[in-house]
Symmetry: C5
Subunit: 307 residues, 5 copies
Amino acid sequence: MGDRVQEILSWYGSDNAGTKTNIARMLRSGKLAGTGKLVILPVDQGFEHGPARSFAPNPSGYNPHYHFQLAIDAGCNAYAAPLGFLEAGASEFAGQIPLILKLNNHDVLHDDKDPLPSVTGSVNDALRLGCSAVGFTIYPGSAHCNAMYEQLQAIAEEAKAGGLAVVVWSYPRGSALSKEGETAMDVVAYAAQIAAQLGAHIIKVKLPTAHLEQAAAKKVYESTQIPIKTLAERVKHVVQSSFDGRRIVIFSGGAKSEDKNVFEEARGIRDGGGFGSIIGRNSFQRPKAEAIKFLQTIMGIYGGAIQ
Amino acid sequence: MGDRVQEILSWYGSDNAGTKTNIARMLRSGKLAGTGKLVILPVDQGFEHGPARSFAPNPSGYNPHYHFQLAIDAGCNAYAAPLGFLEAGASEFAGQIPLILKLNNHDVLHDDKDPLPSVTGSVNDALRLGCSAVGFTIYPGSAHCNAMYEQLQAIAEEAKAGGLAVVVWSYPRGSALSKEGETAMDVVAYAAQIAAQLGAHIIKVKLPTAHLEQAAAKKVYESTQIPIKTLAERVKHVVQSSFDGRRIVIFSGGAKSEDKNVFEEARGIRDGGGFGSIIGRNSFQRPKAEAIKFLQTIMGIYGGAIQ
Amino acid sequence: MGDRVQEILSWYGSDNAGTKTNIARMLRSGKLAGTGKLVILPVDQGFEHGPARSFAPNPSGYNPHYHFQLAIDAGCNAYAAPLGFLEAGASEFAGQIPLILKLNNHDVLHDDKDPLPSVTGSVNDALRLGCSAVGFTIYPGSAHCNAMYEQLQAIAEEAKAGGLAVVVWSYPRGSALSKEGETAMDVVAYAAQIAAQLGAHIIKVKLPTAHLEQAAAKKVYESTQIPIKTLAERVKHVVQSSFDGRRIVIFSGGAKSEDKNVFEEARGIRDGGGFGSIIGRNSFQRPKAEAIKFLQTIMGIYGGAIQ
Amino acid sequence: MGDRVQEILSWYGSDNAGTKTNIARMLRSGKLAGTGKLVILPVDQGFEHGPARSFAPNPSGYNPHYHFQLAIDAGCNAYAAPLGFLEAGASEFAGQIPLILKLNNHDVLHDDKDPLPSVTGSVNDALRLGCSAVGFTIYPGSAHCNAMYEQLQAIAEEAKAGGLAVVVWSYPRGSALSKEGETAMDVVAYAAQIAAQLGAHIIKVKLPTAHLEQAAAKKVYESTQIPIKTLAERVKHVVQSSFDGRRIVIFSGGAKSEDKNVFEEARGIRDGGGFGSIIGRNSFQRPKAEAIKFLQTIMGIYGGAIQ
Amino acid sequence: MGDRVQEILSWYGSDNAGTKTNIARMLRSGKLAGTGKLVILPVDQGFEHGPARSFAPNPSGYNPHYHFQLAIDAGCNAYAAPLGFLEAGASEFAGQIPLILKLNNHDVLHDDKDPLPSVTGSVNDALRLGCSAVGFTIYPGSAHCNAMYEQLQAIAEEAKAGGLAVVVWSYPRGSALSKEGETAMDVVAYAAQIAAQLGAHIIKVKLPTAHLEQAAAKKVYESTQIPIKTLAERVKHVVQSSFDGRRIVIFSGGAKSEDKNVFEEARGIRDGGGFGSIIGRNSFQRPKAEAIKFLQTIMGIYGGAIQ
């Protein structure tokens, strides 16, 4: 199984040994160690949606230690969170699971059609906390995309020099896109490509629908008959759009949903050649035992134990 | 009692010994030393509201030395003020009380619906003045919140590297919030969470009302039946929203009010598990002897001597 | 008389020996040396109003050397000017009079309701020109006050580290203030307080009228019966608002006026406990001999030789 | 043939040996080595137009290695791409072809009348990836041209100090220009001049039409009878406008077009004294064997083997 | 004649030996060496107006070497141009004529009522190219004047530390000024004063008319009866407004004009005590032999050989 990790690492030939080591750490941790698949636990909803909306359904989640332990016990490959949450446990759980410091965040106490998150941590913070990677969100389609791309450029350059991996959340959003367009096939594939071109090692996008948003793109999808009917086909196209599969692409779970839907999505990701999932609310908003079972079912789907 | 301080320090495992030392200095100073409770004297109203509105009711307050001495004589844990006020006494009172340099300020000679304070001092200023902490105000909900969060990010990173503690005043305000919403339960809890996620060691918020401002939050408060009827319940929820009590949260006194109300609030803070108060106008706008008695009553409530 | 200088220096306990030395240099220069009083010659009108409006009434003033010599011959404590004017004479007059490099300036070739001066020199410029202090103008009340306060913060920090004194011109102005409000009692006192809180060693404000601009302040002035009827009372209140007299506050002369008015104002400043005057147009826009006589009359009023 | 390269290098007398070496590397690579002519493969369309519009017509192009190999196999002088695409192959193809790191990019998920690309890489990135040059796009005519010119100034200064060459894409665009004006004779010549004055070593512009956009320029073109009727004449005028031929100017191919048109354009470029072409979509959007034949036909036209 | 140069250098007492050396280099070069007069060739029109409008009337001017040679052959004191033009010849003509690197430029492919040029080079560029001075344009009266003044402040500080001279083009322009006001007597004198106060060693302004633009200034010009009827009087007033003649002030030629007018203007500049001319289009837009004769006539007027 180590061969698959070595194969993946071979795609990152421009990176230094430190960054390769940290990508490998994530790929060799947890239940999916060595499979080339990833299930990551992200917990930034306290910042993004507020504490009650995030943690009241399972109040253990107010405690930052809970999420470290949940990610470890479930066998996730990594745990991602903003500065405060990582500072609150990085020493206690040192070395038990790879950490991803989320370097920008956004709250909903005010509204923006064209969102611009705040930079809330630094590469130095990631290094002093023993993280394996930094995480950064871009909103392609936002009128502020320049600011985000340039913040990411600076952070990625510094992170790579410091031997860290760079994980990019690429979520199309902004006044130029329809609501449906945010998860349109062409738009999600484009968002993955942008993240890859900006130098991301790991790309996180939402699962796309079959909708096509931009007229110029639609024409090409139709004329070249890109298959996008099934979820697996769409995942495959996103993976293709991420340097023909030479970048790790994982998919986000979105709002809490019925388990069978999530499992079905995991099968689609697996069948389309996706590298895994990043699942927040669906895991930490239920009792821990249930969450572990839920996450391990998904890992089973990725790992092959479950069909 | 030292055990309680050690317990609190254990929550800050990511911080260096310098920062832990400075948090401990505040927790081991004054009448409440060792209890884990804090009463802090803040005097930034000269900048925020003007000198006459702040000091005319008790003209001794025009003199910066007055406040140092008041905080010392009353047995406060720390004294917080802007650059000028601290420069005017830091040598004379060196080592007599922990100091918090307030690093941003705002005046009312012009109006803004979406306020953005000015950065008025630096981490280096705090170090050269012998401070234990820097203080910084954020206004979640302001259209300028990005600027404040990013200023705080840079200051907090530098302060922590310099062995200082970071105290964040988190006051929701801005065109997207109703007046009532500024102290709404959901909004205050969210503001505390944001400060915690931004890496604050000590969080200062206003006492919340039972009002719920944001529809998406309201739904969750109601469906999960978070108890917020009494002040103690609301304080408890704020403490929970601050990493389940693993961050120090103190509450501000607000405008001058009848003493019995303030004492009643202190009881609510105590019963809800709050860590104390930061009390400005209610203390320095009355004669010194009265102020000391007033502050020591509050300390008595926190320390257990007074019910 | 040296005792008075020592007393004043004792208020600046947070400053390094270099800054104290430079404050002392200004207090120990000229005719008022040792009295604790200051008369400073400022010449930035060439930049602020244009050369003809400034110097045509006394064309000697076009020459930068004229002002150095005038300040020296009249026995001023210091001479303040923008970069160009100081560069044009700092070597020739080296060591003959303390210099204040004015670090921001504004011209009237375009209009702004909310003015923002340009930064036109640096702390390094002040050091290489042998200055004792930097000068900086803030316009509290301007929509751009944030920019000015933050520029001042950076300059003051650097100046203090370099052993220089910081002189702040604090002139309320901007779209939120009425014309009358710019010199209102409450507003001028507030402007002095802001400068002091920002870390100014020497504060320059305009002489206030008895007008009260802001409703919330007015209520306090009336309820606490702050005496502001006479000029001396108003000066006293400004001095009180500057850390209860623990910061040097001087008053500007304004446009050219009848001598007896200026002298009357000087008496008011003296009687109210003000520290002196900064007088530009009233001195350099008349023949030199007259100007010296004029300035020395004012010095006489401050020094006690003239009632 | 080496003499032509030496002659061209002699125009860059202000550059250090490192930069001259890198210009020489591009001029001495591929089929046109030593002729002073250049055919460069640029692949930034994945970022600029999205992956499907760019690569669906020839899906091999999703893979970053494809373009390295295509440029090498066809005998191009250099390969230009954004950060992600170069990172994904720079080690594997190290030393096989000179690389140009495109340092700014723009996507079409939102609309701007006055475009401003994002800076997506750095000079340090170019150095660590073994590139010979950095590439940068400016849009003269955009309301944001100041930002682009100043970004280029900083990048060019740093690149030259680091021994890299600077390639500038100069594409007039913005609300002040008509659509036709973007390729007008006067406008393209002006764009070439601006790039040259900003210090570009190699300038890339679009082929101009005979249209004249700006009235003041039109008058001069007519009164001085500048010949601009044929494509060769227009190319000659662009070359003249680039320091009388003392800067390398190459022309872009634009959207996919019929081959005979592209070859005809190459003849015009050759006859007008242009230095070559930069051809993206016309080469990588067809099967590799065809693309090589296509590119080598163009090289034949430039090299003299084909009329 | 050396005495005059020494006298002029004595006005720059605050500058280091490097800057004095470079001012001296310009004053001791060319036909006017040692007279204290200057004729400078500036060629930035390729950037400012486009190549055809600039060079089509005399196509030799497309070649950057042409202007170096013209300035040398005509005996100019210095040659001023943007980065690209200087890079294209600084090695070939090293040491043959003092160079001024123009550090900001503006093109006309888009319109601004309130222009803000782009910074297009650096002090380091000037040093590596062997220049004697940097040049910088400010537009007093523009809404963007703050940006320009502050860019100049930073550049001037760095240039002086690096031993370079600072030449400021001060051209009033912007929405607050009438077209006639741009060359009004009061406005041009004010512009010269601003440049001087910002620390310019050499100031370049346009020749003023007798128009008075600003009401407050007009009143003073009339009440103090400043003589401004003849060109010589107006030049004299500009020189007076430039620190009473203690700064070098030269005048620009403007658009191409009849020779006798230009010579008449030179006589006015000479008779008013101006220090010379900076003449672009009138010299390089005619055949070289004519240009040399033309420039040497002007030099003759300044040097005394021609009345």
